[in-house]
């Protein structure tokens, strides 16, 4: 019982060490991959999402009612295609 409790108490430290050691002992190419992941996430979330991909309906309207009205208006006033 004591043993189990002891292990439970130590669990956060064990997990921390597991990840810490894991990251520390990575090879050079693994570090390169992490760099690529971080750059990719930065470009995606901080450049593309923030600057180029606002949620159209959320930024344009404040309530769901307005959004519904807008989409119904769009759907019921079909546009004629132009080339």
């Amino acid at each position: 019982m004591n043993n189990v409790l002891n292990r439970l108490v130590k669990l956060p430290k064990t997990i921390w060490e597991f990840y810490y050691e894991g990251f520390r002992n990575q090879s050079k190419w693994s570090r390169q991959l992490w760099l690529i992941i971080l750059i990719k996430l930065f470009v995606m979330f901080f450049i593309l999402k923030l600057l180029f991909f606002p949620n159209f309906l959320k930024t344009k309207y404040d309530s769901d009612q307005e959004r519904s009205d807008y989409v119904i208006d769009q759907l019921t006033n079909p546009k004629k295609s132009i080339k």
């Binding site: 894991g22 593309l48 606002p54 019921t76 079909p78 546009k79 132009i82």
Partner: protein, 518 residues
Amino acid sequence: MIENLDLSLVDWSRAQFALTAMYHWIFVPLTLGMAFIIAIMETIYVKTNDPAWKKITKFWMTLFGINFAIGVATGIILEFEFGTNWSNYSWFVGDIFGAPLAIEGIMAFFMESTFIAVMFFGWNKVSKKFHLISTWLVAIGSNLSALWILVANGWMQNPVGMKFNPDTARNEMDNFWDVLFSPTAVNKFLHTISSAYILASVFVIGVSAWYILKKTNVVFAKRSIVVAAVFGLLTSLFTVMTGDNSAREIVRDQPMKFAAFEGLYNGSKGAGLVALGIMSTSEGDGTNENMKDFNFKIEIPNMLSYMAYLDGNAFVPGVNDIIKGYTDNDGEVHPPVTEKMEMGRKAIAALKAYKAAKKIDDTVGANEAEKELKANFKYFGYGYFSDPYEVVPPVSISFYSFHIMVGLGMYFILLFVLCLVYIYKGNVVNKKWFLRMAIWSIPLAYLASECGWILAEMGRQPWVIQDLMPTMAAVSSIDSMSVIITFFLFLLVFTGLLIAEIKIMLKQIKIGPNHGGN
């Protein structure tokens, strides 16, 4: 009242979606398939205790890791596009897929941060068994995380289990199980993941063949080939089966897509299957009526009827039959497209009338409009067309992508069988032509996989949601210039990622299994 729709906006939005989806799909299937191949290899290691199998497992795990790291999160871009470029569609679909996709995201995050970490950091730190279980959980988890997005795609091809709410203009889930277990979704999920197993098997065989040609790591390569060829052969047969089921489902729910990918303009009883053909380009006649469909074809008589309905004499509708209306083999009458267009227009007008009546609290008017909407809702999307031939997808693209995919599927079966025969006979090392062919099969596996998506998505045009919402009604009213700019930005980012992937992979392959590490 009729506004003009800038077609270049629709085209650029589609081009952007196609670009990002196809790039995303370069990374996904290798992850889905390789995870299982690694799990099988590690199982052999744990069972046999042979350190050579540990080395094999670790090497392929390294390549898996590279592909995973570069591909991870590339799919989120598609969600950005839904919210910005396709807001009418996103709103119309409702919140149905929002919650499951979010749960999937959270599940994937925890799975990745725990079990993938154990896979890579856990050698010698956790027990062999726990490590093996983690590897299997990564394989199962990553495949399951493809489930919801494929169910969502299945719903768009065959919308079931929902009810349209005219107050909000959103679809609401009526029956969760109908959505999850719709035959379209089930076949799509199984076909997609099993095709990914083929791709990963071909990848492992191709890379191993390179080692054998270079005369290094030959034993390692042969063992890898055996695992991949057995796995690939079994899953190929399953892929053919699920693909065949998909096609049989499509002939009922999306007959126009079926007619397009079979290149069938004029249907008939006892229709023949065009196994090989070159489509005519003489599309001078806008109605396709007198169009000569093929310049050259090899046709197997009655086969198409048999494959579609398991009856060699059954009637298979062609493009023109669907336009003009037809009665199917179960006696169900499918009205001509002009009639569907009329009903669609009524549905659209009824939605407008419903909204107007609600605004002035006219309950009777609203009820009547709702009734009219319900009666015609099935063909809501047809109301946007002005010419019945607008419902025809690009036939040649559908036909060629389907035939390339199926042809390559047959070729991969042959490849897997030959691998096993040569390994069994012990002469694979001398079969240089075969080893070269195996290496060149890697890009072919990607081609087959991308063709599958081209077929599924081009073949369903002009719909984003079958019969309910055409592509042109789904786009947001945004400036097409911003879509053009982001198209090129994506092209840049994804091409950069792909180059990084290929470079790091090739480097790691050159280093080989003896010096690999995490």
